[in-house]
Symmetry: C2
Subunit: 105 residues, 2 copies
DNA sequence: TTGACAGGCAACTAAAAGGTTGCATATTGT
DNA sequence: ACAATATGCAACCTTTTAGTTGCCTGTCAA
């Protein structure tokens, strides 16, 4: 799960995921168009990181490589990790409020 | 939002959030106990990063500083960011499946 | 079959991240 | 008042990360 969080920490990589969500199965060169002012190799490295985090799956078709979004890891983070914070969310909020009010006692 | 993702990218910081979720309003020294083999200053730096991402709020009480979880940013990420991927989740999944099946045509 | 196109690999650089040590400052209990 | 406690600040070091350039390999189409 650490790999997923690390992968999501970069704006360019989140943008790549956005692009794939809008239009799944794109090639490296297509994805490069979404990241102007960055070399193909840089984008390629980002894609490798996303693959290693299992956030995308790549399939070679002839001389090109198609990239597909894998929604599973994001879903797991939502369920397992964010979920537990959501469960105690209102609690934490009221504790924070009370602490802020007690501030100038 | 970038600050939040960056803050969440580190295991130690996620652990600190976990600790606060279990026991809100802890001091720096208390939190240090949860990160053995790391100096107080290192933990302090992590807390600053979490504060800057608005994931926690710190309140000075005398010579100590109490740290409270702020559940809002995590909630926003769940709603605004993860939400949009969840909406196209099953779509992406079936597209991925189909692409994998087409692989050895 | 050869040139153009899609992508991979490796070495290198610059900047950011994570951590440490040492010292300074403020608060509290005796 | 003063020693102990709780935290802050700054300089420094090391590793990781993001990006580049240059070159190599495989595939397709004329």
């Amino acid at each position: 799960m650490d790999l997923v969080f690390k992968a999501l920490a970069d704006e360019s990589r989140r943008l790549l995921l956005d692009r794939l969500r809008a239009d799944n199965g794109q090639t490296l060169n297509q994805l490069c168009a979404g990241l102007p002012g960055m070399t193909r190799q840089a984008v390629s490295k980002h894609l490798v990181i996303l693959e290693e985090a299992n956030l995308i799956a790549a399939i070679k078709r002839g001389r090109e490589k198609l990239h597909y979004l894998n929604p599973v890891p994001i879903h797991e983070i939502a369920e397992r990790w964010i979920g537990k914070f959501e469960r105690s969310r209102l609690d934490a909020l009221s504790q924070l409020k009370q602490a802020l009010e007690r501030r100038d006692e």
